[in-house]
């Protein structure tokens, strides 16, 4: 009975030991991550007693700041609607989105661990959150907003060498400081202004996807740029006719010419020679069909599994139609990967967290990379893209004194007129800018999207070279 009494005591003490280990896990190890959950109402309560930090662009232009204290604190967005989807909004009624949400803890300066700060707060000083510095450049962002104009669409500009996002524009926009007042209108507007098309809009890529098909074809070893291929007006695939855009026919041409002139019927044959497996594998290597790891929520798009593709399915995805779906961010990364010698840098938006006094708390330079293809293969694809702008469908994107590499896309879709696409990077030999442009139901890529791309590229190259000249 003695021994058994001890045993019961030991068993219960063991349960208490489990409880202690569990508490250490919940409070200390998992704690910081758990406390940062947006479902934790303590964050919203803390926000009322903290002066929110600012959001700055890479040249420390103020994109968001706030005035007032406590429940009267008001968030201001000096650049208006231009950055709406990246910054998001900070609404007491509708919550947080964008960087405001993602970097909420940093902007609130939580958790406050410095005992000195805790003491100061106890004596009535309003604690200040950190400033968040983004990779965005207000000059490039505003140029992209101007170039897009009053359309539905998106522009994504990246530095292909680092993955730093220089501009991320979705149109139509909204004024993030007026979300509370205009919610009824904004949330019901058929053009979905609150929706971030750049990261979450899913569209058929159209001929811009031929960049991926060409990469797969050349990479398979079964197709070469100089190989002959026919470009008839229409081609019969399993009993169905596939037509060229505007009934174009070029006769016997090379694979390179088929890419430069964006001949659909030729690409059906190139796709057939390459095979569904290789095309789908290349799409996956470019990160299509998967959500991009990013500072904002991203959509995955869709790449059909090769075993589900019949002859017709393969023919359609070869020129970017069928069930394919991509986001503008994904297509900008496709251009960036080709321009960066086959290495895709993971995109990122947040470059620094700064204390209220300007001290740098954290710096982010790169988020990693993925190897899409060999550098020699990337060089071949890049050459083909240069030809597109020099003599093909993308001549509207030419810039004086700079070699631009690009690819147009004109994507048929069930919602009306075609989507106009353009993806590009420049300078072609040592790119410092890569981008994608989409204009929803805008028409022909080479006529609508390429001129927008030219304006954005011009502004971005000028700002980038000025930035490189700075010490």
């Amino acid at each position: 009975m003695l021994r058994r009494t001890r045993n019961v005591g030991r068993l219960l003490a063991g349960l208490f030991a489990v409880l202690l280990a569990y508490l250490a896990f919940v409070q200390v190890i998992w704690g910081p991550q758990l406390a940062a959950s947006p479902q934790n109402p303590r964050l919203a309560l803390a926000a009322e007693r903290i002066h929110w930090g600012r959001i700055l662009d890479r040249r420390l232009t103020v994109l968001a700041d706030s005035v007032g204290t406590g429940p009267l604190q008001v968030r201001r967005y000096p650049q208006g609607a231009a950055f709406a989807h990246v910054l998001g909004y900070r609404s007491r009624r509708y919550g947080l989105t964008g960087i405001e949400r993602r970097e909420d803890l940093a902007l609130l300066g939580l958790p406050i661990t410095d005992p000195w700060e805790v003491l100061q707060e106890a004596f009535g000083r309003t604690p200040e959150g950190n400033d968040v510095v983004l990779t965005l450049d207000a000059g490039i962002q505003q140029a992209a907003v101007r170039a897009l104009g009053n359309v539905r669409g998106a522009v994504v500009v990246l530095d292909p060498r680092t993955g730093a996002v220089l501009a991320l524009v979705s149109r139509p926009g909204f004024d993030p400081s007026a979300v509370d007042a205009q919610w009824a209108v904004l949330s019901r507007d058929a053009s979905a202004p609150l929706y971030d098309r750049a990261t979450q809009g899913q569209y058929p890529p159209g001929s811009s996807f031929k960049t991926v098909t060409l990469t797969a074809a050349l990479g398979s070893g079964r197709v070469h740029l100089a190989d002959p291929v026919r470009c008839p007006e229409a081609i019969d695939v399993g009993g169905a006719l596939i037509h060229n855009f505007e009934h174009e026919q070029l006769g016997q041409i090379s694979v390179l010419q088929a890419f430069v002139a964006s001949c659909n019927t030729a690409f059906v044959q190139i796709g057939q020679r390459t095979g569904a497996q290789a095309v789908a594998a290349a799409a996956r290597a470019f990160g299509l069909g998967q959500p991009v790891p990013f500072d904002l929520p991203t959509s995955s798009g869709y790449v059909p599994p090769p075993r589900d593709l019949g002859a017709r399915g393969l023919a359609q995805i070869a020129f970017g139609q069928g069930s394919l779906l991509v986001t503008p961010l994904q297509m900008a990364l496709v251009a960036a990967a080709v321009g960066n010698g086959g290495t895709m840098m993971t995109p990122f938006l947040v470059s620094q967290i700064r204390a209220p006094d300007g001290r740098i708390r954290q710096t982010f330079t790169q988020r990693g990379s993925r190897n899409v293809m060999a550098a020699s293969l990337a060089g071949e694809v890049a050459q083909a893209m240069v030809q597109v702008v020099q003599s093909g469908t993308g001549t509207a994107a030419q810039l004086p004194g700079v070699l631009v590499a690009g690819k147009t896309g004109t994507a048929e879709n069930p919602h009306g007129n075609t989507h106009a696409w353009f993806i590009a990077f420049a300078p072609a030999d040592r790119p410092v800018v890569a981008l994608s442009v989409i204009v929803e139901n805008g028409g022909v890529g080479g006529q609508v999207a390429a001129p927008i791309a030219r304006q954005v590229l011009a502004a971005a190259l000028q700002i980038q070279s000025a930035a490189a000249g700075r010490p």
Binding site: L12, A13, L15, Q27, V28, G31, Q33, S37, Q39, R42
Partner: protein, 443 residues
């Protein structure tokens, strides 16, 4: 512990000032800490309000010194750590209740005083445990009657728990029934033990016949609790039953059979009762219904996590976001404001208390004392684990009071009576050990 009770037990009574010196110092320390906590909460949070809760709390904590004085006068040679730990836990509870529900602080101080009064009365009337043997069946009948009464005229408060309304007060009968059941199990098992532990081949049917009354009471109370949806109490009673069965008979096969039966019963309840399913589902995935059924447990997790290692500080967190913060969720509230350091201290206090209870049970004089001690220890340990683990999502949450910590009068009375019984058991054990040492022939 500077002075161990057995070492201090001397044949001749010590002068009053030299008795229970460790207890005196520790009780005073716990009282001072509690009083400081109350003053801190008052000045930081309610500076413009009345000082009444602080004064009432200090008076209640001073009551522990009165109990100490009574033990000194009665020359109790039992454990000197039990009372200080109870005082420390009561002090922490009182400070947290004042911080969370200032309107309840004076009442909790009154409950502690009532509990301490019950302790003194129990020391005077119940200390000699022979009543357990004599009135075992009366205890069982009273317990079952209380549970039946609760099913018939009970009132639901705080979700699942059932209360009896008597005039202006609400009683939590489960806490009193806990003591009655320990007494009943101990009284009956001590009688049947010699018959059931005889050497020779075992006869299941004969055993079952002798254990019949125990089994009947156990199953009866479980059924009544399932009726009331009071799963926490059901777990507690059943755990105490199994622990006491094991200590008394040493039949692991019975205990294992009991655990299997528990598993089967729990599975059956899960499939039969929607409220059991909800409890378990909410435990497994509180995020699935974060704003609804998962809210309380999720807020408990957020409270613990927001507290981190050092806590937000008394009055600087937001434990009021948790429903029932001063009852079922008082432990996560401590975690938010006093951090992992605070929760570890509280668990350490519980662990210390548990250790001293089982020490008293091991050193008890005779099997009845030992069985009652082990039963009270098991009840204390299981109850603490069920509510501390439940409120932190280690196990599914079932509301029962955390001993000494949670707001409530019935729990205070029941827990302090248990302390009285344990002090008596420990006293007899120490005296028996001292006598044994004096007689050189005795091993």
């Amino acid at each position: 512990m500077a002075v161990s009770p057995t070492a201090s037990a001397a044949p001749a009574p010590l002068p009053w000032v030299a008795r229970r010196t460790a207890e005196r110092g520790l009780v005073a320390a716990a009282g001072v800490l509690g009083a400081l906590g109350l003053v801190a909460v008052h000045t930081a949070m309610y500076p413009a309000e009345s000082w009444d809760p602080v004064v009432a709390g200090a008076v209640a904590l001073a009551g522990f010194l009165v109990v100490h004085a009574a033990l000194v006068i009665a020359d109790n040679r039992g454990d000197e750590v039990l009372l200080p730990v109870a005082a420390a836990l009561s002090a922490v509870g009182l400070v947290m209740i004042y911080r969370l529900r200032p309107d309840y602080a004076v009442r909790q101080a009154a409950w502690i005083s009532l509990g301490l009064t019950s302790l003194l009365i129990a020391l005077g009337t119940l200390a000699d445990l022979r009543w357990v043997r004599r009135y075992a069946y009366l205890c069982a009948l009273t317990g079952i009657a209380l549970l039946v009464l609760t099913v018939l005229v009970g009132v639901e408060r705080n979700g699942a728990r059932q209360w009896l309304v008597v005039g202006a007060f609400t009683l939590e009968p489960g806490e009193i029934v806990k003591l009655l059941l320990v007494a009943f199990f101990a009284g009956v098992l001590v009688e049947t033990r010699p018959l059931l532990t005889l050497p020779g081949p075992r006869r299941w049917r004969a055993d079952l016949g002798r254990l019949g009354p125990v089994l009947l009471v156990c199953l009866g109370s479980l059924l009544l609790l399932v009726f009331q949806r009071d799963l926490g109490l059901a777990m507690l009673y059943y755990g105490v039953f199994l622990a006491m069965l094991y200590v008394a008979l040493g039949r692991l096969d019975y205990v294992l059979g009991g655990l299997v039966a528990f598993g089967a019963g729990a599975t059956l309840c899960y499939h039969l009762f929607a409220h059991v399913r909800v409890r378990v589902d909410v435990w497994l995935n509180p995020w699935a219904d974060a704003a609804g059924r998962g809210y309380q447990i999720l807020q408990g997790l957020f409270a613990l996590a927001s507290g981190g290692l050092t806590g937000a500080g008394l009055g600087l967190g937001h434990p009021e976001l948790m429903p029932a913060s001063y009852t079922d969720m008082i432990f996560p509230a401590i975690g938010e404001e006093l951090g992992a350091i605070g929760t570890f201290m509280v668990v350490a206090l519980y662990l210390l208390f548990l250790g001293r209870v089982f020490r008293a049970a091991v050193q008890a004089d005779g099997s009845l004392d030992r069985l009652v001690g082990a039963g009270l220890g098991a009840a204390f340990g299981i109850q603490t684990f069920v509510i501390l683990g439940g409120s932190t999502r280690l196990i599914p949450l079932t509301g029962i009071p955390a001993p000494f910590l949670t707001y409530g009068g019935s729990a205070a009375v029941s827990n302090f009576i248990a302390v009285a019984l344990l002090l008596a058991i420990s006293d007899r054990g120490a005296r028996a050990a001292a006598d044994g040492r004096d007689a050189p022939t005795h091993p």
